[in-house]
Every structure is written in structure tokens, then in C-alpha cells.
Amino acid sequence: MLDTLDPLILARIQFGFTVAFHIVFPAFSIGLASFLAVLEGLFLATGRQVFMDLFKYWLKIFAIAFAMGVVSGLVMSYQFGTNWSVFSDKTGPVLGPMMAYEVLSAFFLEAGFLGVMLFGMSKVGPRLHFAATLMVAFGTFFSAFWILSVNSWMQTPAGYGTNAEGQFVPLDWWAIVFNPSFPFRLVHMVLAAYLTTALVVGAVGAWHLLRDRANPAARTMFSMAMWMAALVAPVQIFAGDAHGLNTLEHQPAKVMAMEGHFQSHPDGAPLVLFGLPDQEAGTIRYAVEIPKLSSLVLKHSLDAPLAGLDSLPRKDWPPVPIVFWSFRIMVGLGMLMLLLGAISLLARWRGALYRWRPLHRFAVAMGPAGFVAVLAGWITTEVGRQPYTVYGLLRTAQSASPLHGPAVAASLTAFVVIYFSVFAMGVLYILRLMAQPPHEGESGIEPGAPIRTAGITPAPSVDPDRHLQPAE
């Protein structure tokens, strides 16, 4: 029975599972690192205690998220070799150096300065400590830079040749690093990380405003987060559109799957809003569509012809239903983020930002939206690249390690069980920290500091407003 397990499918599930868990933490810590740097910078510039309180409040959360990002990232750096050894052998000369740069310039920067950032506040003085915080923030950005360059090369390979052993070899590093989809993906992902963090910070601020609208730290964080949402959400939609047009140019099959275009449309393609994609039959059932709008969006002309998947052999089709739905989830959440930002601007203009409860409830509900949108976006782009690992050049089926089914089944089971238990606990601890209202003279995380005694006298149990807490 065990021998019938398909190691390829299992390896794909394992990679998808572990990378999906992993991306959640960097998406949060990239944004949070920058937010922390801004808070500390504002404190140094203005001397206002509320910024330091917020810094320490979010630093505790950052420490947990970062630890989970480190350990889940470690798994990723080895999984290319354990499960995708043929891919590693063939792409190593091109992708390996970029991954090495990621480790060197980024991971080290983060991990090396993180100790000072987390524990060194009283050791190194405020300016050096701020420098450490900035280094951590830059480190998270460089990390994203290199790893997104690697991913983008797999989507839109450039600057390579091949050698006698069948390996991809570098010919032009500039063309490899700045391959055609990279600038778009980098902007789209970094904005997504900022937006995700803003939504989390906004949700936590809103949660505490619902309990105590006078809490100055809750006010400050909510206001900052809503500025971010209002400014970044529209920019992100614009960046996403540009990214989509770039994908149309380089990976048309992915866009066909996103749009649900099984058929070619020689005189204007409709925009399919919803429907049930049927991969076998090659059609969208119960399609709700707007005529010619897709051609307008993608080609800026109502009657522009758009090819469909019927123009490609079936063996080159990505799994349409997954790509179709994950794309709609991402776009739908993006629209809700835009709406949240717009409502917050309206509330701010009318001076009701801190007392308009429906806005606060909406913000709380949108707290996890960024993570869902990030995952949906990655599923769209990664599943949309199928059936290739290196688009058009190396098939997924020809990339895997020569492993036996039971070995991969065992490791996949272990990953699922351990990730759910360990990371669920981590998320629980983060939520517990978030449930505590930020207060003046917030404690840091220096070992031996009052956070340990917080377990003895839990702040929520002595909070007189606790019974006012809304049920959501």
C-alpha cells in the first residue's frame, strides 16, 4: 500500500505546505521590522513615550514571529536538496549563488543584529540600538530581494546558458538577477508585507480601541496602520495590475488560468467574475462574465484578441481551478483593503477615527486578510507556473529527488503534525500578547524583565474594562 504513494505528489505537497507556513512569518516580519524602525526613529526624534511603548509592545511579538520564521526558513534551505535534487543539480550554478547572497547579506544581518535589537537596549545606548533595528529591517528587505529574484528567475528565466551536464549556467548575472518578472514581483511582495503588517497592527489597535478608546498607544497604532492601509492599498492594486500585465507577456498560460480563459477569443475576451472551472471539459461552468472587459484590462482595447488554453497542448496547462480561485480570493481581499483604507480616511476627515465602532470592527475582521491574500497570491503564481519548475525549460516531474514514497510520506506527516502543533502554539502566544492592551512604561524583553512575572499577575485579569470586550 505504502509503495503506491507517488513520491512526486507527496514532495509537491510537502514543499507547498512548508513554504506556505514559512511565508506567513517573513511577510509579517518584513513589515514589522520596518514598523519597529519607524517607531524607534520617531521616539528618538520626538522623545514621546508612546512610541517607545509601542516599540516594546511590538518587539515582543516580533521576537516570536522572527523565531518561527528562522526555523521554518532553515527547513526551506535544505528542502531543495532533499526533495528536489535534480532541480538543485541543474539550477544550482544559477540559483545557488543568489541564495548564498540571500544568506550572506540578509539572514546574517538579521540574525546577527537581532540579539542586540531584542536584548541589548540597556547595553549599547539608544543610537547604536536604533542602528541595530535598522540593520534588521534592511536585512529582512535584502532577504526578500534575493529570494524573490530566485523565484522570479524560475518564472521568467534569463541570462543563462546550458552546459554538457545539462545544467543551467550563468552567462549574464545582471540579466539573471533582474530577470523580467523580478521588479514587479519584488514591489508587489514588499507592498504586500507592509499591507499585511498594517492590517495586523490596525486590527490590534482597533481591538483595544473597542475596549478603551482613550488608550493613547492604541490610538497611535490604529492611526498609523490606517494611514498605511489608505496609502498602500491603492498603490498595491496598481502594482498588482502591472505585475499581471508582465505575466501576460511572459507567462500567458498563467494569465489564461487566472482569467479562466479555456477558449481563445479573437474579438474581445470577457472578464469571468465567477464560475466553476472544469479542467477535464476545458470550460467554465455557470460563468458570470462581463463581455470584452478582460481584453480592455489586459490589452487596453475592447476588441483585442486574447488566446486561451485551447491554443496550448493539454500537457502544458496549469491546474486551472486552483489558480482561478486563489486569484479571485486575492483580488477580493485587495478590494476590501482598499475599502478599509477609504473608510478610515472618511472617518479621519470627520474626526471620528477613534470612536467609530463599525470601522474598528471592520479593521479587526481584516486583521488576518493580509496573510490570506499573500498565500492566495503565492498559490496563484506558483501553481500558475505548473507544470514547470523553471518555466518552459524544466518540468516539475523531472525535478524531484529519487526518493521512495514512504520516505516522503513519513517526512510529510512529521512536518504536518509538528508545524501545526509548534506554530499553532506560537500563534497562540502572539495572540495572547496582542490581547494585552499596550500601556505606558511597556516592558521590554530583556531576560528577567517583568514579562516573566506577567504570568503571575496577568494584566487582563485586573483590567476593569475586560467585561466590555466585544464578543468577536
Binding site: V71, F80, P97, E102, L104, F107, F108, V169, F415, R452
Partner: protein, 335 residues
Amino acid sequence: MVYSVDLTVIWAFVIAFAVFAYIVMDGFDLGIGILFPALRPGPERDTAMNSVAPVWDGNETWLVLGGGGLFAAFPLAYAVILPALYAPIIAMLLGLIFRGVAFEFRWRDPGHRAAWDVAFTGGSVVAALAQGIALGALLQGIAVEGRAYAGGWWDWLTPFSLLVGVSLVVAYALLGATWLVMRTEGLLQLQARRFAQRLTIATVAAIALVSAATPFLQGRYFERWLAMPNVLVSAQVPLLVALAAVALWRTLRGGGERAPFLIALGLFALSFLGLGISIFPDVVPGRITIWQAAAPEASQMFMLVGASVLIPIILIYTAYSYWVFRGKVDAHGYH
């Protein structure tokens, strides 16, 4: 061609350096995890944990560099070794997950601190054991066909690989104990000193056993170590190990605080040197040399530019970070 040969050797040394840096730096904090059950819950454990809390994730990053560097500079070796060592590598990664999160979680959740302490120890022991087993499995040789691993998924499990696994657990514990001798005071230091003495004996025994078994794994090792004239050079390594062991024992008995840790590092360096004598210039012993596995010159050169600037910077600020957190530590963190 001569030029690219040089680059390949340089990269072999860079990766060997990263692996060694990982072994000694994560070694002492894994060692703390291995010793954890022997320490009393409360201030003793808190102190031991605090002594490594600010540096462990920087230490672990060297493992990412070792793996990433192998992928970049020797992709064929990366593609052959990792599937061959599938089970121990996955076990190591899962062990490191438990251990890594335990650093944060045990402070966050005093109600479950005992459980996270078990996770900390369990993760540390599994990671150390798996690293040792992986090393042992690599040394005893792995089956290669064409450009891929050709063995089964239990090939790694042999008495020799288990011996190396247990040896590494013991040796990491020694490193952890000497670290505590250096960084703590009072009763905890006294206790660590006693552990370190016993672990010195155990480590020397482990080194002797592994060294005695290695030459008989593959004919090449035998020639390297025991045939004339190589033996004249290679015999210096066990002699130095014996000297270091005696010195370690004396400083532990004589009340040295920093010396035991430094000498323990020396023991690791000698063992690592011995490993190098066994396998260089192979990267998959007996199967693939570093030149066969090497990435093209353009790849190695591109990386070397960055590495030669960044690795020294990393070393400087790692040293700075250790300097900031120097001195004795107690349950309330660094003073």
C-alpha cells in the same frame, strides 16, 4: 583551468569554515540543551538558557550558509548528499524547530515551561544525533549512479553512523558544559565543571572509537592515516588530541574559567582537521571530488566577490555581538 581549480579549492575551504563555525557555535548552545535535564528547574536552567539566548539564531545561520554554500558552489554534491541523508536531515531540521521556538516559548508560557524544556532538550539531542549520523553516513560512503543518489532510504543507518551520532552528542555536551564554566558563577559553575570532567573522558573515548573505526571503512582512509609515509604527518593529530585532552582535564581540575572552553574548541578543531585529512579533496567520499561537483567558474566567482566582503564583516559583528553579551550571566540575563 588552473584558475578554476583554485576557486574550487577556495570554496571548499569557505564551506568547511562555515561548517566548522556552525559546529562550534551551535555546538555549545546545542550542548546546553543536551545538559538541560541535569540542571535544576528554576534559576539554574534560566541562567543556562540566558547565556545563549542572544546568540543562538546567529549561530544557526552558519548552518544555512553551509547548506546554501554547498548548493551554490557544489550543486552536484548538494543534489547527491541530501537525498542520501534524507531521514537524518529531516530529523535534524525538525529537532532544530523544537529547540529554536523553545527559546521564545518557555518565557511566554510559564504554565507549560516544563513541556518546552523537554522540547528544548529533545530538539537539541535529536539535532545533534542526526548531525552525527549524517556525518557518519557520509564517511562510510553513499551509493551514486550518474548524477544522483542510488541507494535506499535506510542506507544511512549503520553501527558506525550511530557511533558518530552518539559521539557528537557527547562532544556538544562537553562544549556546552565548558561554556557554562566560562559564563556562570557559583553552584551552577561548580556543577558544570563536574559535568565537563566526566564529558572530557567520554569525548576522548568517543574520538578514539570513531578514529579507530574510520580507517577500516574505506581503503583510502587506511592509506591516508596508517600507511607510510602519511602516518608520519597524520599521527600528529591524535598526539595533539591527547595533549589537548590532558590540558583540558588539568584546567578543569585547576579552576580555569575560560581555558576549558577554548581547549574544547581546540579538540573540535583537531577532530575537524582529522575529518579533512580523511576526505579531502572529495566532497562525497570515494565518489565525487570537489572539482567534479563544482559549479562553473562564473558562479563561484560571482559568489566569491560577495563572500570576501561580507564574511569578514559578519565575523566582525558576530564578535561585536559576543562582546556586548560578554561576562557572567545569571537568571536575570547579562550584567
